[in-house]
Symmetry: C2
Subunit: 139 residues, 2 copies
């Protein structure tokens, strides 16, 4: 597990200045496992550094997304939800009752997507696969 000093290294690797605010935001993302919204990230970052502003949260997220460090998910409903990009590609299942986000991956689906696009004469740049469902009522 990376400690907070690693965050500084990560930022420097991207050639940007290491600011308190960016460290706080990255720390929040490191700790999160719930695909938080910008507003959640702001609130959590403020615990570590009360000076963090909304504008900086959005700016930092946009910057990290461009750098490939962060993934921005535009699920149905309110605003975007973010997560660190670290691991392998995965798609999401959203619980319509709780809002919980569950991750999954299907090599078969990924392959089929590529085949379909190829048949249509396209190369896929990226894709979005989201399942919206609920747990069947106890029975």
């Amino acid at each position: 597990m990376n400690d907070d000093a690693q965050l500084e290294t990560d930022l420097r690797a991207e050639g940007v200045r290491v600011t308190r605010q960016r460290l706080a935001i990255l720390h929040v993302l490191r700790m999160a496992s719930d695909h938080p919204r910008a507003e959640d990230i702001l609130n959590r970052a403020k615990v570590q550094d009360p000076s963090v502003s909304q504008a900086t949260v959005y700016r930092t997220l946009a910057m990290l997304e461009k750098a490939g460090t962060v993934l921005k998910n535009e699920f149905d409903g309110a605003g975007a939800r973010y997560e660190l990009a670290g691991g392998a590609h995965h798609d999401h299942l959203i619980d319509l009752d709780t809002g919980e986000v569950i991750e999954f991956h299907s090599q078969k689906i990924e392959r089929l997507q590529a085949e379909i696009a190829a048949d249509l004469g396209y190369d896929i740049e990226w894709h979005r696969l989201e399942l919206y469902g609920r747990r069947p009522k106890a029975r």
Copy 2:
């Protein structure tokens, strides 16, 4: 091919009043094959009835969506894009260069999605599968 008188029947079937504006909007949707945005629908509807307003376009689309007559697609980028729900379920491939929307359907993928959700203990209510790609440059 349905004529415009059919539109009136469609509206009555939904138990709402038949207005010039609604007929114009439905007509536009009937003619469209390009997944138009609300703004496009407004502009096209104005040709038939210049009195149609933006608010009515949004209100009518929301109403038709709730009735299951219209599908609202929230693709990446600007605003939502609409289409009549008539046919069979399909997903979309968006051309990143032209914005063109291509429809496709894979029974295999649909089945895999259901299996994945079932394994996770969920029933899928709806899903979104969008492929974003481009035609390989001529070579």
